[in-house]
């Protein structure tokens, strides 16, 4: 009797799960981007098109999950926070090209794949934050290894995709040997073991544990808008590195369509929505990111940080050096 009841319960549960989500018009998103960043956009999209957006969010492992699921994966769209992840998806044959003139016209060519397998939505700079107490300073990424910053540098884990991408750009610029040496020297300059988030580093500067840190641009805006974190952000300047040479390292947040997307039409509609002017404006305004569309302005706050030069290294190059970067980080024992 007990057993029967239990079995019925299980079966009905599965039915509930599997069939409730198969409502007619929808699109399924696997997202590396945090929900609160993208949810306003999805709401807007649903309002416009009537297509429901389902999201699973995780900081890690979504691509691996997609790979495991293979042909029967429900995923239509992947949102990533990093170029390397997009390239990896393509290299593993998990995504499909999307031929859309809307997409290809809206996005500058350097920010989309030649084979249309991925598209950038926003760009972000890997900034160097510096304590206001140091005054205005001009920094290159290479300067983080300078001995005068001994014990004064903070960063999150070297293995975080943002840092890996930066290291990969260093490999591309200077080669492996130089980069390893650079990493070792930066490691020596660290005030503490790599830990926490980009925001946590700014907090550490506020706490006077260190003077300079690495962090993405939009966090600065986010922190200025948070009542607890504003005091941290008020302690630092945001700097755009390498302005007198190759330019600041940038990364993108991007989108790709899953190879076996069951709702390809809706997926394409969502992708096109994400590069539409209103969506791009939302990205700029609420997320403090740099919209990928050149005809959409950044938010006032972001604009106040000034213009900057961008490292024109092809994004694919960064992805190519990703694994090397990881190995170098291990070799330098950066996180230990």
């Amino acid at each position: 009797m007990l057993r029967k009841a239990f079995i019925t319960m299980c079966v009905s549960l599965f039915c509930l799960i599997t069939f409730s989500s198969s409502a007619s018009e929808m699109v399924n998103v696997y997202s590396y981007r945090q929900p609160f960043l993208v949810e306003p956009l999805f709401e807007q999209f649903t309002k416009q098109s009537g297509v429901k957006v389902n999201v699973v969010f995780a900081k890690k492992g979504m691509a691996e999950r997609l790979a495991r699921e293979g042909k029967y994966s429900p995923a239509d769209i992947l949102l990533t926070t990093d170029i390397s992840r997009l390239i990896e998806l393509r290299d593993k044959d998990l995504v499909q090209p999307v031929n859309s003139s809307i997409l290809s016209h809206a996005i500058p060519t350097q920010y989309q794949a030649q084979d249309n397998t991925w598209f950038a939505l926003t760009t972000r700079v890997r900034n160097i934050y510096s304590a206001k107490r140091l005054g205005r300073i001009d920094l290159n990424y290479e300067d983080l290894a300078d001995e005068k910053y001994k014990g004064r540098v903070c960063t999150r884990s070297g293995k975080h995709p943002y840092n890996v991408a930066l290291v990969a750009s260093m490999v591309s610029e200077h080669g492996e040997a130089y980069t390893l040496n650079w990493l070792k020297k930066v490691k020596k300059n660290l005030a503490r073991k790599p830990q926490g988030s980009d925001r946590g580093q700014v907090q550490a500067i506020h706490q006077k544990l260190c003077d300079i840190s690495l962090g993405n641009s939009y966090y600065f805006g986010k922190m200025l808008n948070d009542k607890k974190q504003k005091v941290w952000a008020d302690e630092v300047y945001i700097n755009f590195p390498n302005q007198n040479n190759r330019g600041a390292h940038i990364n993108i947040s991007g989108v790709a369509m899953a190879k076996y997307a069951p709702n390809a039409k809706n997926a394409q509609a969502l992708m096109e929505f994400l590069v539409s002017k209103p969506a791009q404006e939302l990205y700029a305004k609420t997320n403090m990111e740099y919209p990928v569309r050149e005809d959409v302005a950044v938010s006032k706050l972001v604009a106040s940080w000034g213009n900057y030069n961008v490292d024109d290294l092809a994004l694919e190059e960064i992805a190519k050096h990703r694994k090397t970067a990881l190995k170098l980080l291990d070799q330098a024992q950066f996180d230990l």
């Binding site: 009797m1 007990l2 239990f6 319960m9 299980c10 549960l13 599965f14 799960i17 599997t18 989500s21 399924n28 945090q34 929900p35 389902n54 999201v55 699973v56 969010f57 995780a58 900081k59 890690k60 492992g61 691996e64 999950r65 495991r68 699921e69 293979g70 042909k71 029967y72 994966s73 429900p74 990896e88 593993k92 884990s157 293995k159 890996v164 503490r192 073991k193 790599p194 830990q195 926490g196 988030s197 925001r199 946590g200 907090q203 550490a204 506020h206 706490q207 006077k208 544990l209 948070d226 607890k228 974190q229 694994k323 990881l326 190995k327 291990d330 070799q331 024992q333 996180d335 230990l336």
Partner: protein, 542 residues
């Protein structure tokens, strides 16, 4: 003793269930066979030794600290004459309801440079920069060990206290008559007799420590779990990750088996626990010290964190969070409910199989099904995807062949995956609780129904289940709470639009914004309190 029944269907389902529960681990082991050695040698030459060292050091410190906190407090509570014992007795259990990552975050907040403690110190002594004074850094390996020990020591406390309270008082009377003082008797009789219980609790603490992911990550202490993550998600090498995971699991299994071996046959339970015990009389100074020790454990393990959470909740909560909280809360309740129910059902099935059947190997399903406890959630999630993924494919292909539309990922893409993972992970808890309940039923009660013409089903529904009801409730609650707290497995296996309290809190913590989730955190803690209160009531009654 002789078991009664030989129900074929029951036997089959027991073995099948046990097999299903270790299937993910088997898949993992098989998957590790194809691992390439190249990545390994790279890892071994660079980071793996220190990850391994960290893992062992962390385990060592946590176990040591938890034993120190737990055994000492249990001894003080059972053996001495300190005041307010009746309150401390259950207050000391409360830290169990706190997820370690939560405590870790709260203490970091408190003791960081910008935290209130250092701020006050600075304003008192007029220090300006961190270089002006030394203050301990909590985000270190010892810090992580302390945090874990603070919330895990109640395991040691609970089991040691139980063992000490159930010892035969005549042994101490004998020891006193043989010339030993109460204190000497405690060290030469009571403590050695409690050794098996202490060993069990230490192994529990050890497993929880090795399975921890969020705390060490927050404190950026790189352990084997980090290495597994890196190899899997960074280098994209599942096989190598499987190998590392298998190594971790083997270490844990080895410890567990060693522990079981060491205490085989050394159990002691008294028929006369109710005799009044003679307490060790402490001087006033000693009493003060002992009380201080116990109270500081209670305060730092529970009271202070919960107060901090409440303050946060009061400052930051608003009505909009509430509706989101209800939704995520419901999700947490839902998966925990299914996980607890399934785990308890399985534990009953296997426990009663072991008890009532003639099969020579009847213990095996029960033992095997508990292995998952030793597997960290991350690893388990990985194994789960590797197991359920192919299964789903097979199902879909079969469906297509039969002319149906492909049903999609009904196993790996649904709540099933999470619930399955939680059941695999926490079956051991249900098994342990239910088995101990079953052993307390006299064997003759298995026979009595048959002698009255009542068959197996009748015997189970009319005798065993009713007698086990309190045990079942307890097992259910314990699994329920653990499932509420569980994080990594949930993070990786969630279906669409699915957040739980723990996953939400974890995300907020990793953005240094726990304030927004304080209400949810309080909810987890409150649920965690339920079984503790009940457990305590049960213990009082027995």
């Amino acid at each position: 003793m002789i078991a009664l029944y030989n129900n074929k269907r029951w036997k089959l389902s027991s073995y099948v269930i046990a097999l299903v529960l270790i299937l993910p681990m088997l898949v993992m082991l098989v998957g590790s066979v194809s691992a390439s050695t190249k990545l390994f040698s790279h890892l071994w030459q660079t980071v793996l030794p220190s990850y391994l060292a960290n893992t062992l050091l962390l385990a060592f410190w946590v176990v040591l600290l938890a034993l120190f906190f737990g055994v000492l407090s249990a001894s003080i509570i059972t053996q001495t004459n300190i005041v307010f014992k009746q309150y401390l007795r259950w207050l000391l259990l409360l830290p169990l309801s706190m997820p370690a990552y939560l405590v870790a975050y709260l203490y970091t907040d408190l003791f960081d440079y910008a935290g209130p403690v250092q701020r006050i110190l600075r304003s008192w002594f007029d220090w300006q920069t961190p270089n002006d004074y030394w203050f301990f850094d909590i985000r270190t390996l010892p810090g992580a060990a302390l945090m874990l020990a603070l919330v895990l020591f109640p395991y040691v406390y609970m089991l040691t206290r139980g063992a000490l309270e159930h010892q035969d008082q005549n042994l101490f009377r004998a020891s006193r008559l043989l010339g030993l003082t109460a204190k000497q008797s405690f060290f030469s009789v009571a403590l050695p007799l409690a050794r098996p219980a202490i060993a069990v609790s230490a192994s529990l603490v050890l497993m929880e420590t090795l399975a921890d992911f969020a705390t060490v990550q927050y404190f950026s202490v790189n352990t084997l779990t980090t290495a597994i993550y890196d190899t899997w998600l960074g280098y994209g090498d599942l096989a190598a990750a499987n190998t590392l995971a298998s190594i971790l699991v083997l270490i844990i299994l080895f410890v567990v088996l060693a522990e079981q071996r060491s205490r085989s046959g050394v159990t002691h339970q008294s028929a006369r626990p109710s005799l009044k015990r003679e307490l060790i009389q402490l001087s006033v100074g000693q009493q003060l010290l002992a009380s201080l020790f116990c109270w500081s454990l209670v305060v730092s393990g529970f009271l202070l964190p919960i107060v901090l959470l409440i303050i946060m909740a009061v400052q930051y909560s608003d009505i909009t969070q509430l509706s989101a909280l209800i939704l995520t809360g419901m999700n947490s309740l839902k998966i925990s409910f299914f996980a607890a129910t399934t785990a308890v059902f399985i534990a009953l099935l296997l426990g009663l199989y072991q008890r009532l059947h003639t099969d020579k190997y009847r213990k095996i399903p029960l033992q095997v099904s508990g292995f998952g406890y030793a597997v960290p959630g991350t690893v388990l999630a990985m194994a789960m995807l590797s197991t359920l993924g192919p299964l789903d494919h097979w199902l879909n292909r079969a469906g297509e062949l039969l002319g149906f539309s492909a049903p999609g990922l009904i196993l790996s893409g649904s709540l099933f995956a999470i619930v399955f993972a939680l059941v695999v992970r926490f079956s051991a808890i249900a098994n342990g609780t239910i088995t101990s309940g079953i052993t307390q039923i006299p064997q003759s009660l298995d026979y009595a129904p048959a002698s009255l013409g009542v068959n197996l089903l009748g015997s189970i529904t009319k005798v065993h289940l009713p007698i086990l009801t309190p045990t079942i409730l307890m097992a259910w609650l314990l699994v329920f709470v653990e499932a509420m707290k569980e994080l990594p497995a949930v993070l990786l296996l969630r279906p669409f639009n699915f957040e739980t309290l723990s996953s939400q809190i974890y995300q907020l913590i990793s953005n240094e914004m726990l304030e927004q989730g304080a209400l949810g955190a309080i909810l987890i803690v409150l649920f965690g309190l339920l079984p503790i209160v009940l457990l305590n009531k049960n213990k009082e009654r027995v």
